[in-house]
């Protein structure tokens, strides 16, 4: 499943990268804010885009589980499994 999620998530993250960060820099280990330099206020936009793309709902207290690409994939997998 995560093989499907990763490319989809990458596409969601791309538009939020600062202009000086190359999309190739996105890797499973990337921390969205500290590694990819994404403005932390945009995390709420990424959550909304993830919700729309995977038809899931992410609760406010689960935002901390989306700090890295890998953690986000795990959360999305868990949500899809319990949907």
């Amino acid at each position: 499943m995560s093989q499907d999620i990763y490319p989809k998530l990458k596409e969601i993250i791309k538009p939020y990268l600062p202009e000086d960060v190359n999309p190739d820099a996105i890797s499973p280990e990337s921390h969205l804010v500290t590694d990819l330099n994404i403005n932390s206020t945009h995390l709420v936009d990424i959550v909304l885009d993830v919700e729309d793309a995977f038809d899931i709902t992410i609760e406010d207290d689960e935002l901390d589980n989306m700090e890295t690409v890998t953690a986000s994939i795990a959360l999305i997998e868990q949500k899809l499994a319990t949907r």
């Binding site: 538009p15 939020y16 990268l17 202009e19 206020t41 945009h42 709420v44 936009d45 909304l48 406010d60």
Partner: protein, 422 residues
């Protein structure tokens, strides 16, 4: 402390009849109307189904905003303000430092109503219990200071970064306040301007007041008729205008192109007393504003060559002419030349003052008068006060030195600026 002389070194504009200074200047010279019919207004059963909105292409958007900034972006006033503001900054030949902020440069960028379409979008989501789905940028797109906040970040401004609001006086007032700040030595350079959203959710209140023309829905370009005997209300507009102001020393040191000098100005209110009200000007205050602007500038009334009026094409135009005439002590053929941009653009509300100041500065720099369009028969009350020869209906080349610009707004507020050729 010695006052600094203040000059205009950059212009930017987003007007219903031209986006960008070159297109706007051409429109001024040719008397081009920016008033169009809007099917949306017809569908919503507005009496007045016409208006003036700048035509912004995707290419213009992409020039001033990143794709990320345009995500979920729905604040026309910020779009107009940024396009005009950044154009003015670039026109002044000023670079943008991506690392450091410039503590000597700031902005006063006024608004009337801002981010209305974004706000409407948010209200729908909130009422559906979907506040969490607003996204991260609804605050910055709907706060009044949104436009100065966007510009401050894009240009790295480190001096005063703020937004003023005083209805239809807003734009002229922003320029006056920026002028005062530079004159007093508190900033070297200020981006001064204003912006206004347009469309049904901004114009609705004016339609409800029945002060917009309703008989020109089939004939939009002829609807806005300042000073005309058949003026039947102002045509609503929107857009933005921006001027870079700086000390004369700074402009000379940089070798910048100097468009004009601001000699002085004044702003006041009629207190909604005497004949003044929320919606009507107190003539005592209007005249005082004009004479105080003259004395602040150190010039005599006889030195005014040209007036760029507020003149919205309502029944108040003749009162405005009367006020100018009494304040200056000049009438008939002795009255200065006078024109109103609103014939071409409609009344761009909070943006009107700044767009009209851009037009005024272009007239001074290039020594011409733009035509008063749609003026077929001068209103008889106006003709009693001033000679029709002072109201050009064709583009007129003119060697002149001093132009007075005034704007008046709801709340009985006034502002007058004096520009000089340099």
């Amino acid at each position: 402390m010695q006052n600094h002389r203040v000059v205009v070194t950059g212009l930017g504009v987003c007007s219903p009849n031209g986006v960008g200074v070159p297109a706007f200047k051409e429109a001024l010279e040719n008397g081009k109307s920016g008033i169009r019919f809007y099917r949306e207004l017809e569908k919503l059963k507005f009496s007045c189904q016409i208006g003036g909105m700048p035509l912004i292409s995707e290419a213009v958007k992409a020039k001033y905003f990143t794709p990320l900034q345009l995500r979920n972006f729905n604040a026309a006033g910020i779009l107009y303000g940024v396009a005009a503001g950044v154009e003015a900054w670039q026109d002044a030949g000023l670079a943008v430092d991506d690392e450091q902020c410039d503590f000597e440069s700031g902005t006063i960028f006024g608004v009337g109503t801002l981010g209305v379409d974004k706000y409407r979008e948010s209200i729908y989501k909130v009422d559906e219990g979907n506040t969490r789905r607003l996204g991260s940028t609804s605050v910055q797109q709907t706060m009044s200071s949104g436009v100065s906040a966007y510009l401050g970040g894009m240009l790295g401004l480190g001096n005063l970064v703020t937004t003023n609001s005083s209805a239809c006086t807003t734009g002229t007032e922003a320029i006056f306040m920026a002028y005062e700040r530079i004159k007093a030595g508190k900033a070297t350079r200020m981006l001064a301007g204003s912006t206004s959203d347009g469309g049904p959710y901004v114009w609705c209140g004016f339609d409800a007041l029945r002060i917009l023309p309703s008989k020109y829905n089939d004939n939009p370009t002829q609807a806005s008729r300042p000073m005309d005997a058949h003026a039947s209300g102002f045509v609503p507009g929107c857009g933005a205008g921006a001027l870079v102001l700086e000390t004369l020393e700074s402009a000379q040191k940089r070798g910048a192109t100097i468009y004009a000098e601001i000699l002085g100005g004044h702003s006041n209110s009629g207190g909604q007393r005497q004949e003044g009200s929320m919606t009507a000007p107190n003539p005592v205050a209007v005249k005082r504003c004009i004479t105080a602007a003259l004395s602040d500038s150190g010039i005599a009334a006889s030195q005014i060559d040209v007036i760029n009026g507020h003149l919205t094409a309502t029944a108040k135009d003749d009162l405005e002419i009367q006020n100018w005439s009494e304040a200056l002590g000049r009438s008939g053929v002795d009255f200065p030349y006078i024109n109103s941009l609103k014939g071409m653009t409609g009344h761009c509300l909070a943006a009107s003052g700044s767009i009209e100041c851009v037009a005024s500065v272009l007239e001074l720099k290039h020594q011409f008068l733009f035509p008063n369009i749609n003026l077929q028969n001068v209103h008889p009350e106006i003709e009693k006060v001033i000679s029709t020869s002072r109201i050009p209906t064709q583009k007129t080349d003119l060697n002149f030195n001093i132009l007075a610009k005034a704007s008046f707004g709801f709340g009985d507020v006034n502002c007058c600026l004096i520009f000089s050729k340099i």
